[in-house]
Symmetry: C2
Subunit: 457 residues, 2 copies
């Protein structure tokens, strides 16, 4: 029998679902600065490189095998592979691949990885429907704005209680993006986001398993289907996001509605998107960067007597593994990060391979790292003091690591990262062609050129 | 940047995911009483009648149109229709149909509608894989046990905070059921439920829209896919349900783990399943029943001067609509329920049609109903005093309405309900054949006979 229940009174909630729907349906094409439009291209490019790079991973292969049980129609491509599946399943699998290496983009204010749900849904839908590159870029900016604004409103409570915020906000962002790409009107966009609001995806307990990258993939798939349902007249609550028993109040006790509504259509969250230079958790990046700077100053690994690392307590809490046994564990080891930075000047996926992680010189070097907690050092910073065998000491302080908002990767650095991910899959020439197609996406008549270069011969 | 966060210490949580996985994989076929096995058949039959009955509703049609955009392979049937789609989409659409009329089963302890997610996933999977009827019934008992036990642990906090508990627990139940039907081992069952644990579906704000019945459908689809993913080696946290940032602690502050583990494999929640005789919310049922009893005692509508109805405050809070304008509104009107009970002795879908709801004699009769709140009357009861035009008064008190655990519908009443739903779609003869196939499902070599009768000529 139903019980009598109380819900928090919430007469202050503005009509968030409606306001977002009008923005999604009606905001003009390219209605933002050139800088925002360029950031959208960087976001798409970085997402695609990550998805191609992990397209041969066990997670993608297992997901593809499960999808094959449905005998899917060959509507849309799995990037980096010759396989085609129905567009919803392509969104799922590309979304999984894009997050498998934990190498994708980050909206640092919420630690949402925004492209995974949104771009995965859009590319599959655009390939099947023949949408223009411009329409895709427009929808990408708008969909990411929706998911990040919802994330801003709920963060940090929502994340703290256990939600993987990328998947929980991503379903709505992907629905908004697909609704935009399909040209739905504001009423339909409202329904699309409403249907999506019942399908937040992702618990943080899954970190370290294939279900973590499933979250953006599942969100992409659910968002795409929500838009298709709305297009066919399927209905949802017009207040599905903001009502007392709607999505946001159900999955977060903190909801700052102004984060959704203020300057909507004027400032764009995608402008704050960042890209990881290193294939591991963001808290390790300043330490890797500092050690890479030591290397750039001429310090060689064999000269090192000791490395003193001072970092915020969170760094050791999340990545304090001293003796990682394999590549996966090494992603949670700031000690390995320091060794990789000093030895290689980089920590991409290759530097987290099992072979590298267990190599004798790598093991020896990371044992020379002595980490101490100092909460006067910001989470985004690292302080490194290298003592050499001859007694010399070299100090490096990184306030903002490469890849942060304050110190973004250049386009050339993004391209180098892309090559590192894609060359082993597609080859260097096709990868160069794919990069060119990405930079030109906003003026392309369709996504065929991207798809062609992203498909192995 | 990630923040330092606190999670509730929870060293008491037993290994819920593992214990359930071992139960799902290893519990013997038909390892329960004849009464439980019979209840499983009643559950399946009632679910199927509801799904067939609503198979022509706009919600099913819109969902099918969206699914058709994926060009699905014809693997599994949409009951009550000639259409076949891929098995995951069939699970979705049959799940939507089964809940569209709000006429499906209820596990009253949690107000979960347990068959929607579980049976919808199972029939589609069984049709495509050729599983036996026995395997389906076994998986139905086990899958419903999983979802209802998880619901018992979280209820009422989880429901109170806004979750539609049918969809949030149903994904895991459907995953467990499909994992069982696929013959997965305990490790794989653990992964299947773990993948599902990241995909709870459904917010209560959606009540009154098509997204409400989407919840069991979406849960069925997600559960089925979770099992297929696990079969292919996709991984999840082995503690995805019970960990501090796993599903249950993320979506509920109350978690009584004993509800999951106590007498697991000894008592079965499906034994507590109930079926609605009336096509509306359960709180109206005692009032309809009382008025139907007046009719059975010979009272005619034209004799009525006034009906005094005393009910718990919750009844008027949820269903206090005095002048419903159409069939959907009438489902939230205890006044209409009383009128239907007295005029027709029943309140199935037909008695909630727009034509009936707006008929002059119906409108006149329900205006004679005077409802007062009396919280000494239980939520599950109703007190009716009819005053006739000649001054006579007739009193009926219903402690437990027909359809409750204490006063269950008989098999014959379930069959009559089934005919009411299915005859207009399949015809009376095919419906009789379908009923016979349902009662014999536990000994059938496959589900072909059910599918044949559930498909219109």
């Amino acid at each position: 029998m139903a019980r009598n229940t109380q819900v928090a009174a919430d007469h202050q909630a503005p009509p968030v679902t409606r306001l977002l729907a009008e923005f999604v349906a009606n905001h003009p094409s390219r209605g933002w600065s050139d800088a925002v439009d360029h950031e959208a291209h960087r976001t798409f490019l970085n997402w695609l490189g990550c998805a191609v790079g992990a397209s041969g991973h066990d997670a993608a292969i297992a997901a593809l095998a499960a999808v094959r049980m449905l005998q899917p129609a060959p509507q849309a491509s799995i990037v980096g592979r010759a396989d085609k599946v129905d567009m919803a399943s392509a969104a799922l699998i590309n979304g999984i691949s894009s997050h498998t290496f934990d190498f994708d983009d980050t909206h640092l204010k919420t630690i949402i990885h925004p492209a995974g749900p949104v771009a995965s849904a859009l590319l599959a839908l655009a390939e099947h429907t023949g949408a223009s590159g411009r329409a895709l870029i427009d929808a990408l900016v708008i969909g990411i704005d929706v998911s990040c604004r919802i994330g801003n409103a709920m963060y940090p409570d929502h994340y703290d209680r256990g939600w993987h915020i990328t998947g929980s906000t991503g379903t709505v962002g992907a629905a908004a993006a697909c609704a935009r790409l399909l040209g739905l009107n504001a009423d339909q966009c409202q329904m699309a986001m409403g249907i999506a609001a019942s399908q937040p995806v992702g618990m943080r307990e899954q970190f370290g398993t294939m279900t973590k990258p499933f979250h953006p993939g599942g969100a992409a798939r659910a968002g795409l289907m929500s838009a298709l349902l709305a297009q066919q007249g399927f209905t949802a609550s017009p207040r599905a996001l903001e009502a007392p028993r709607g999505m946001m109040q159900t999955i977060s006790t903190k909801n700052d509605w102004r984060e959704v509504t203020e300057e909507l259509g004027q400032r764009f969250e995608i402008a704050l998107n960042t890209y990881k230079p290193f294939a591991c958790g963001i808290v390790v990046h300043p330490s890797i960067d500092a050690c890479a700077q030591l290397r750039a100053q001429g310090v060689r690994a064999e000269e090192i007597a000791r490395i003193d690392l001072r970092v915020h307590s969170l760094v050791l809490e999340l990545t304090g593994k001293k003796e990682p046994a394999d590549g996966l564990q090494a992603k949670f080891s700031v000690y390995h990060g320091c060794a990789a930075g000093l030895l290689f000047g980089i920590a991409a996926e290759a530097e987290f391979s099992d072979a590298i992680v267990t190599r004798a010189d790598v093991v020896a070097l990371r044992r020379k790292v002595v980490a101490v907690v100092d909460d006067t050092v910001d989470e985004a910073s690292a302080d490194v003091l290298a003592t050499l065998t001859d007694g010399r000491q070299i100090h490096v302080f990184v306030e903002h690591a490469i890849g942060s908002v304050q110190n973004p990767m250049t386009d050339a650095q993004l391209e180098a990262k892309f090559h590192g991910l894609s060359d082993p899959i597609l080859g260097s020439a096709a990868t160069s062609g794919l990069l060119a197609a990405c930079w030109k996406l906003g003026t392309a008549p369709d996504v065929a050129n991207v798809i062609r270069h992203a498909t192995p011969a």
